[in-house]
Symmetry: C2
Subunit: 249 residues, 2 copies
């Protein structure tokens, strides 16, 4: 079966998440249905990452296996036509290199987390940001985030439902940027634990609010205890930003 | 009646426009209902500009007259509470200076128009941008826009429903900016004709697409003929960006 590599943008609001599930519409399910509508045969889809309900993607990489070959441009156009009106857009499709696998070949993942720190609720970005009705000190957040960079046991920042064999991950980047009332967290790693980004975002929010001193982040990390984590930030502020594929992947 | 100056953000998608109308919900009507819920008396609202159905605002200035005085902070909080769940947010409220009128005191208005120029439809910004499925040359658009700067008879770029006494307006700025696949038009003037920004955006899109040479914009302007205008760009890409009040207004 010919395999295509897809770059996918989606609004996670109406979905139960990336992964196909019995309890509602999923992004993976919508892409597979679009592939099946094109070819008349099952069209399995695999993504670089799995996202929870309400989480968005700026550029998720996925692959889709089709029963027969089409020009890559046709794949993109046909999938977008069949996806309508779901808020999923195939930005790019190309023939996958031999052996390419969206999940197993992936060597880096990055996420964006958006917080809107102002008193008034968001009118335009309602399902796109976490509304925090108090000022946040992004300098303190950046100071606190430093403790997280590098290879650590991230048990504190891991969902109890996480299925990863090990809690040890290497966080390559936590960059914090302000744009007006908005604070943007940029995180990058080879891979993440379940809820790791939202757990970190919720903890750094406590630091930005002044409720936790910056050094409390390192203390929470060292505790290796889920109970030491700040509140988990809501899904609506989280975006799968990009997947990286190094070497001849 | 004490008057308050409001700064209002709204998502125009569910509204018939700014102005109260019989055929559906309006932003003005929602603000007046919120003011009446606070005071138990009619609470007339006037905005710096009137926007059409589907047009958004980043920061519309308005005033509201309340039957009795409240701390400005209470006005903002109470209006936001009563506005819920409408996608309207009062970003700021302050006691208006003596003689302040959101419309008549206004000395400058600015608009933002957002075009998304890429093949794939928008998934995240669906009701927030005009999707143009072809590449646009922003340099050509900027070149064409030059002819519009200054004082001109804008009959070409004016809705047939425009109620302005004169078609002569002074356009202070048309700035064109690219951010990835997005082209943003920034326009500023003391005041605008009905549909002027959308008429200009639709005409500049034709230039960006290569369908019109840049010099055709000046030719269209000189024609002083509505028929010489390009297509009117859709409401969803338009944002009332800011109102200016100079001097002691």
């Amino acid at each position: 079966m010919p395999r295509y590599r897809l770059t996918v943008e989606f609004d996670g609001t109406p979905f139960v998440g990336w992964q196909r599930q019995d309890n509602g519409p999923s992004v993976q399910g919508a892409l597979e249905a679009a592939g099946e509508a094109l070819t008349g045969a099952p069209a399995p889809v695999v993504g670089a990452g799995r996202t929870d309900a309400g989480v968005h993607a700026l550029a998720m990489t996925a692959h889709i296996d089709l029963r027969k070959p089409f020009p890559a441009r046709t794949v993109r156009e046909a999938l977008n036509a069949h996806l309508r009106p779901a808020p999923i857009a195939v930005l790019d499709a190309e023939e996958a290199e031999e052996g390419f696998h969206a999940r197993f070949s992936c060597t880096g993942r990055s996420y964006l987390y958006r917080l809107l720190a102002r008193r008034a609720p968001p009118a335009l970005e309602r399902e796109r940001v976490w509304h925090v009705p108090i000022p946040l000190d992004e300098g303190a957040m950046a100071e606190g985030a430093k403790a997280l960079i590098g290879r650590h046991d991230f048990t504190t920042f891991r969902s109890v439902h996480c299925q990863s064999r090990s809690p040890v991950k290497t966080l390559d980047e936590v960059r914090i940027e302000r744009a007006g009332d908005e604070i943007r967290l940029h995180l990058a790693a080879r891979s993440f634990l379940h809820n790791q980004v939202r757990s970190i975002a919720g903890t750094l929010e406590r630091v930005g609010a002044g409720a936790w001193p910056p050094e409390a982040v390192g203390t929470a990390l060292s505790a290796k205890d889920r109970a030491a984590c700040g509140p988990v930030a809501p899904a609506r502020g989280l975006y799968f930003a990009a997947a990286r594929y190094d070497s001849s992947a």
